[in-house]
């Protein structure tokens, strides 16, 4: 192991130390050092903000790091090879599962799509991958697990419903025989199958390096959203009455789920940031089903991604893709509102 890896691993105990003393440190800072009076609305809000922002950022760093190490064992190439020649339904399930762990950025959606199609992977299986990749986000799973308002049940529901939507949507897209709505030039693509070297073997140092890069990249991209999300939560803390949103977005509101999905489409954000935004919403009476529908819509159904896909798909197929996925999210949202 090189020095960088050793230092990185040594930071992990430091991380736990800070994390477990964070509450006492925040108490000291807010009530002793700054001297705010305990128990007031405003002090509570400030305390919440001062505690929650570093807490979430700490969690984020650790989780992305762990996920980065896991992801370094996967690659788009390996996934492609694995999916080649798989039968339809089985292929859809595998594609959805691999979509969760394969490193993927929506800016690579096109070359990945082309690579899959060129390898003879059915369109429907490719779609299962493309739907699951953004929608089922492992960082979001950890965030749901960690938060006491959600817990493992919700994390599990999120994971299974996301996988189910991805699997079934892909299956339907294949069954609808929509191949003709893929841009014609896509089928002319020829790709070299030469393996580039050092792709398969990765040293542990390289995995750590990769994980560190992931941490930097994602934290840079979303820290501001988290600060804003927590800020909204802190501002709402004690000021907006509990259940204020329940009549509109609670479980008994029939239009809550579709409204949440519509609101989510134009937004495009990272799943971890969305979790921070829906937390205060749930505290104010938005039901879990509606909140998860919103989250899946933000990360799974995005206008920018649809625009990217326009290069390889005709609009009919994009419409079907959005329609099928939106229907899936609506169903999941209503079911959750019924049972929780």
């Amino acid at each position: 192991m090189n020095k960088k890896s050793i230092y990185t691993l040594l930071l992990i105990p430091v991380w736990f130390l800070i994390y477990f003393y964070l509450e006492s440190m925040t108490n000291w800072l807010i009530y002793d050092a700054i001297g705010l009076t305990e128990g007031k609305h405003l002090s509570k809000s400030i305390w919440f903000f001062a505690f929650e922002v570093p807490k979430v950022l700490l969690l984020l760093v650790l989780i992305i790091f762990i996920v980065g190490i896991i992801r370094s064992y996967f690659s788009a190439e390996k996934t492609k090879k694995y999916l080649e020649g798989k039968s339809l339904l089985r292929g859809n399930i595998m594609a959805a599962l691999l979509g969760v762990v394969t490193p993927f950025c929506s800016c690579s959606a096109i070359p990945l799509f082309l690579g899959f199609v060129e390898a003879g992977i059915p369109i429907g299986v490719t779609f299962s991958f493309l739907i699951a990749a953004p929608m089922v986000n492992e960082v979001a799973i950890f965030f749901l697990l960690e938060d006491k308002n959600f817990g493992w049940e919700i994390a599990l529901i999120y994971l299974t419903s996301g996988l189910t939507i991805a699997t079934i949507s892909g299956y339907i897209i294949e069954k609808l025989q929509l191949q003709k709505y893929v841009a014609d030039w896509v089928y002319k693509v020829k790709s070299s199958h030469e393996e580039t070297e050092d792709e398969t073997i990765k040293s542990f140092d390289e995995r750590i390096e990769y994980a560190i890069d992931q941490v930097k990249e994602i934290v840079q991209k979303i820290w501001l959203y988290i600060v804003i999300g927590v800020g909204i939560g802190a501002g709402a803390h004690g000021f907006i009455p509990q259940d204020a949103l329940a009549p509109f977005l609670g479980k008994d509101s029939w239009y809550g789920v579709p409204l949440a999905i519509l609101a989510g489409v134009p937004m495009y954000s990272n799943a971890a940031a969305v979790v921070e935004i829906i937390k205060p919403l749930i505290a104010k009476g938005v039901s879990i089903g509606t909140a998860l529908a919103f989250m899946m819509s933000v990360i799974g159904l995005s206008l920018p991604e649809a625009i990217i896909l326009k290069k390889v798909l005709k609009w009919q197929l994009i419409a079907v893709f959005i329609g099928v996925v939106a229907t899936g999210i609506i169903i999941v949202g209503y079911i959750l509102n019924l049972i929780i």
Binding site: S75, K80, C105, C107, S108, P111, G115, S191
Partner: protein, 77 residues
């Protein structure tokens, strides 16, 4: 030396082009840098994750925004 940066105009691809230019200067090698945005050509090289870097016809990195020093190292190989 012939260097190609593959990518269809995403932010990371532009950054990789900049880093490559800086690396060529730093390493003091004689190289031409071209940007490849044509998907068909990118696919011909078997690349599924952009940005990717090709040196003398060989894919040396993909799906990663390399730092200037990392590219210098690759150039000197």
């Amino acid at each position: 030396m012939e260097i190609k940066v593959l990518g269809s105009g995403c932010a990371k691809c532009n950054k990789l082009t900049e880093a490559t230019k800086a690396a060529v200067e730093k390493a003091g090698v004689d190289a031409t840098i071209t940007k490849v945005e044509d998907m068909l050509k990118i696919m011909e090289l078997g690349v599924m994750t952009t940005p990717a870097l090709v040196i003398d016809g060989k894919v040396v990195s993909k799906g990663k925004l390399l730092s200037v020093d990392e590219i210098v190292e690759l150039l000197q190989k």
